[in-house]
Amino acid sequence: MTYYLLKRLVAIIPTLLAMTLITFLVMHAIPGSPFDPAIFGGNDLPPEVLANIEAKYGLDRPLPEQYLRFIGGMLVGDFGTSYAFKSRSVSELLRDTFPVSLQLGTMAFTLALGLGIPLGILAGARRGSLLDRAVTLLTTSGIALPSFVVSVLLILVFSLVLRLLPATSVRWEQPQTWILPTLALALGPLAIFARYTRAGILDELSGDYVRTARAKGLHERVVLYRHVLKSALLPVVTVAGPIFAAIATGSFLVETIFAVPGMGRFFVSSIFAKDYPVIMTLVVLYGAALVLSNLVVDLLYGALDPRTRAAARLLHRS
């Protein structure tokens, strides 16, 4: 098990390196200097001055050296200095904004799991009931509707018509501003969790072991929660990894709409400003989050399903 974990962790490194390298090359292929005031509509700087500023940030060095410097700095936790928010290091920017995004993402993910799975179980256990049809309607719209469309509709209903909740979340210290962005971010994942749970339950309920359990005279509730649920949730665990990535990338649209002071905003503005260090850092963060969540999913999968455990053991022996 430890060996397997180590092997998987080592395998992450080339993936992350490839992502940073592609990002680095694409960014440097964009013509123009990040310090050219023309980007912000300012007057031109004399070329010597521009060259001096670029030299200060190490942009006059050959590209391979710049890339290696960045990777080297990242290894010791130094992400460089932001070009757009001068005088502030990327680590400082992250310290202010990352907790907000993480909190929003965690709240949405928890809500999606905590509501999606029970709804899926109820719908699957009472197939064809009114509740089942309501859940199906919810999942279809949750999967189809983009998070920023949901955001606009939530603002319309809860802020403009009912006047219950604020339309923007600038004042993040007030908990009532958390509700709408969390709902907007959670609906899609919630729908996917509910749909997979329902399908898993229906699939397992038709199994022979369920007939045996019922024939033994077990209570339906015991059949459902003791026997069916564990294997029905396997596909849900599998999709949880990609869903985490969806929440991470979906969050910058939702954060922009509600003006949440998280890192999503920085990502968008850093692209316009050619803020190389910020872009690189965010790509590495999102990439690492995605790869790590896939790893956690695989480990959970092994813990839940003895068959994969056995298969993995066989695989390592050979």
């Binding site: 920023f148 509709l153 403009l160 990338t249 968008v268 990439g287």
Partner: protein, 313 residues
């Protein structure tokens, strides 16, 4: 998908190409009506109210955007300075935006962009993903290894992140959106087609064709391809709304369509600031995008069930 069903699909897909069927002796003709695969699919689709209303909505949408110059004669860029940010009224029945432009016209032309992007990206996906997937799955070996390596590397990137990076390199504009979305747009189709071709490769009817000396390219085109059609159609139907959403998201961020050309995503982000005083400016484009996404998704769901009716039981 069951074995018999694949045979039915294969038979139905090939039916028109076989004159023997039509020339069968009349004594053997059954009183039953001749049924084609697409006839069956349409019959099942018609019984699904969600799918049917989606089809009707999509047909109307296509008509609207094709006839845009007639249904929205004011155009998307014409400004009326006497009517800025007007609420829906008799003259501008969805109101006007911040620059006095007709919101209805901008919605219709925005739909034109959305559908154009959605369909074009999927056409590229068909042209690239299907042949590569067929080759990778059917021939296997080194070709498979090379193709799948490329697919896996591109797949590891979060889709939207990759498109954003490419757009910041290419700059805004419709053509660049098509390029940025097409680069990753064929991956899913390629994987799906490869998986299908891989499972067909060892089937008896392919083996039989090989045994009687049918050349590989002909087996690929006449036997493997028709059997992958139903997954291709479903994947493309789900791919269109994904491309539409990607374009809307890019334009929302401000690196998609360049103004004054309208895009639903850009209209939402431009007008979200005024949502307190002029709610209609952000809400209508959001609703248009939402309805279109819903229609494509439930049409896709219906189509998948209609193509694969046994999956339900």
């Amino acid at each position: 998908m069951s074995l018999e069903q694949e045979f039915t699909i294969a038979a139905a897909a090939q039916a028109p190409a076989h004159p023997n069927n039509a020339a069968a002796p009349p004594a053997q003709a059954l009183p039953q009506r001749h049924r084609t695969l697409w006839g069956d699919v349409w019959r099942r689709l018609r019984r699904d109210p969600a799918a049917l209303s989606s089809v009707i909505f999509l047909v109307l949408l296509v008509l609207l955007v094709v006839l845009a110059p007639f249904v929205a004669p004011r155009g998307y860029a014409a400004q009326d300075y006497t009517s800025l940010r007007a609420l829906p009224n008799t003259r501008y029945w969805l109101g006007t935006d911040n620059a006095g432009r007709d919101l209805w016209a901008r919605l219709v032309y925005g739909g034109r962009i959305s559908l154009f992007v959605g369909v074009s990206v999927q056409l590229v996906a068909l042209a690239v993903g299907v042949p590569l997937g067929l080759i990778a799955g059917f021939y296997g070996g080194r070709a498979d290894a090379v193709i799948m390596r490329v697919v896996d590397v591109l797949y590891a990137f979060p889709n939207l992140l990759f498109a954003i990076l490419l757009m910041s390199w290419l700059g805004p504009g419709l053509t660049n959106i098509l390029v940025a979305l097409s680069i990753t747009g064929w991956l899913t189709l390629c994987r799906v087609v490869r998986a299908q071709a891989l499972s067909l490769r060892t089937r008896d009817f392919i083996e039989a064709a090989r045994a009687v000396g049918v050349p590989p390219w002909r087996i690929l085109l006449a036997h493997v391809l028709p059997n992958t059609l139903s997954v291709i159609i479903t994947t493309v139907t789900f791919g269109i709304p994904q491309a539409i959403l990607a374009e809307a998201s890019l334009s929302f961020i401000g690196i998609g369509i360049s103004p004054p050309m309208p895009s639903w995503g850009q209209m939402v982000s431009d007008n979200i600031l005024y949502i307190r005083s002029s709610w209609h400016l952000a809400v209508f484009p959001a609703v248009a995008l939402g309805l279109t996404m819903l229609a494509f998704t439930s049409f896709g769901d219906g189509l998948r069930d209609a193509l694969n009716p046994r999956a339900h039981e």
